[in-house]
Symmetry: C2
Subunit: 330 residues, 2 copies
């Protein structure tokens, strides 16, 4: 295993110390593995909390800041955060208007966020939850009942964060988050497996001439193994899978996301193929984002997310945001 | 070789097609491998051109836009752009106030930018050049007489770009670029070698238990091979090497840069070690940036850049910028 770490058992807390050093505008608690925007709770604003296993950076801690998340809970690598941490985050961001939990659909995350929401209810904090399950590759998976939550999480976090800044109600913020999720589909292809610090070797075996089609962000199996294919073919199978599950309507926000080990040069090349295909399928790309946003450690691979947006979603996507991972307008 | 490409001989132009699709606010010419900001030339503003071999994305094309570069020339992977392309870029951004060339110190880049500057002179375009040679690891290298240009290029491009937006003279814009370079030192460590599409296999052999200390961004040899070490030790050897060559003065801009294949989780962990060390060495970190900015395709590794800034450099670093790779304030 070749990694910039000190101790495989203490990676997440040490990385959070680095996040704290790099971003004094955030309140980072490495011990409880929380990242909170410095001015939380914001009085009268819906607080937004997300979180999940680490190893997907910049998700979620890199999206904490004005215009997006109020707090993120970081679990150990590929492991859900504990209910106590989620409860602490919920309390830290409750400004009296309720708290939204954005939860990727993995069994551990769902259970722990549910438990934290119940405990927050005992504190008279109203919690609504948006479950993100955009990955159209498989119906159930290793750690999932139903579809997995992946790239659309970034769009849900951005759009709900923008609406919350406008002091919309918890009901409305949750509603637009659910709309974004319903209108989004994602599909990923892996060329290599990720190596977690704890395991010290790749999470699955993938021959040199094969790719995993429909892989999950923890290396969960996809639909099939297939021979390595040109980027144009990879783009086609991603686009086909997504548009079959989520047929085109309106203008799309398109996220071509690197899984961690794939260079930007390849991501742009792949995006060019995706864009040409979408044009031929009468999908209008209204906004796009190319880069590493929801990663799987050092996995070479990419995911495509298509969100069929309406004017309101586009407006909120365009709104100002200031986080380590996404910034515009400020 | 596992990459998202179609044809190993046509990677850069196809990636530029993707960049064009993702960034309609840029004028991208995939055939001549140019990226130009849409409103160029800006009348009365110094035009800023950089460029170099591809494979280091987001450098340079990802830094084209208001507040930073006016144009970038992309060579083939790890290959200098040709003089004709640099000349075309220089002409495209000449708004009557002269053009600055920002050139990383590699023999091919230096020669081709020199030739383009001469040809531009024949067109009565005044060209000044800032040579970036911040990599303190080795004095001469595979493709270099003198030190190599690496991470400081981002800071030079940002700071000169901001000053040019204020309509400063070519002389002043060049001068601050040179000052940033003189005040900056960089040092890189590789855990794996990059694989170019043309070669199809890693550019050098690196045993599973070793790292290349002082590596170049094309995989050029560094100072030595060393046994894999904890992140704290890697941070120490980077900081020591840089501060020995560029002793601390003033407030630092610190860039902890991923070389392409290293996850953000590790980069933040390594940054935490760097920040603690700099504090113990009485270096005040004024600004920081952690992520993939000057990469070497899929190389696992990281580089540290320390720029001992003055108030003017900090002010220009903080100024608004709108590029695919760096954005703030707009």
């Amino acid at each position: 295993m070749k990694k910039f770490i000190n101790d495989p058992g203490d990676v997440v807390a040490q990385a959070l110390r680095g996040l704290a050093a790099a971003h004094p505008e955030l309140r980072v608690d490495p011990e409880n593995q929380l990242v909170v925007r410095a001015d939380a709770p914001v009085r009268g604003k819906v607080g937004i909390v997300s979180g999940g296993g680490s190893g997907h950076e910049p998700l979620h801690g890199g999206f904490v800041g004005p215009g997006m998340l109020d707090a993120a809970c970081a679990g150990e690598v590929f492991t859900s955060p504990v209910p106590d941490a989620i409860l602490a985050a919920t309390r830290a961001v409750d400004g009296g208007a309720g708290v939204l939990h954005i939860v990727k659909n993995y069994t551990g995350d769902v259970l722990n966020f549910e438990m934290a929401a119940e405990l927050a209810g005992d504190d008279d904090i109203t919690v609504e939850t948006v479950l993100v399950d955009d990955d159209v590759a498989v119906q159930d998976s290793t750690w999932t009942a139903g579809r997995r939550g992946t790239g659309a999480t970034v769009i849900v976090e951005k759009v709900t964060g923008a609406l919350a800044e406008e002091r919309a109600s918890l009901k409305d913020v949750a509603a637009i988050g659910r709309t974004v999720n319903e209108r989004s589909g994602s599909f990923a292809v892996a060329l290599t497996a990720a190596t977690t610090p704890a395991a010290g070797r790749p999470g699955f075996d993938l021959p040199d001439d094969e790719m995993e089609v429909g892989v999950g962000i923890h290396g969960e199996p996809g639909r099939r193994r297939a021979p390595l294919a040109p980027a144009a073919d990879v783009a086609a199978l991603m686009v086909d899978a997504i548009l079959e599950a989520k047929p085109a309507t309106g203008t799309a926000i398109v996220l071509l996301n690197g899984l961690g080990g794939t260079p930007l040069l390849e991501l742009y090349l792949l995006y060019g193929e995706v864009a040409a295909l979408l044009e031929s399928r009468d999908v209008r790309i209204g906004r796009s984002l190319v880069g590493n946003y929801v990663t799987s450690l050092d996995m070479a691979g990419a995911s495509l997310t298509i969100c069929h947006a309406d004017d309101e979603i586009l407006r909120l996507w365009d709104a100002w945001v200031r986080t380590p991972g996404l910034r515009r307008g400020v």
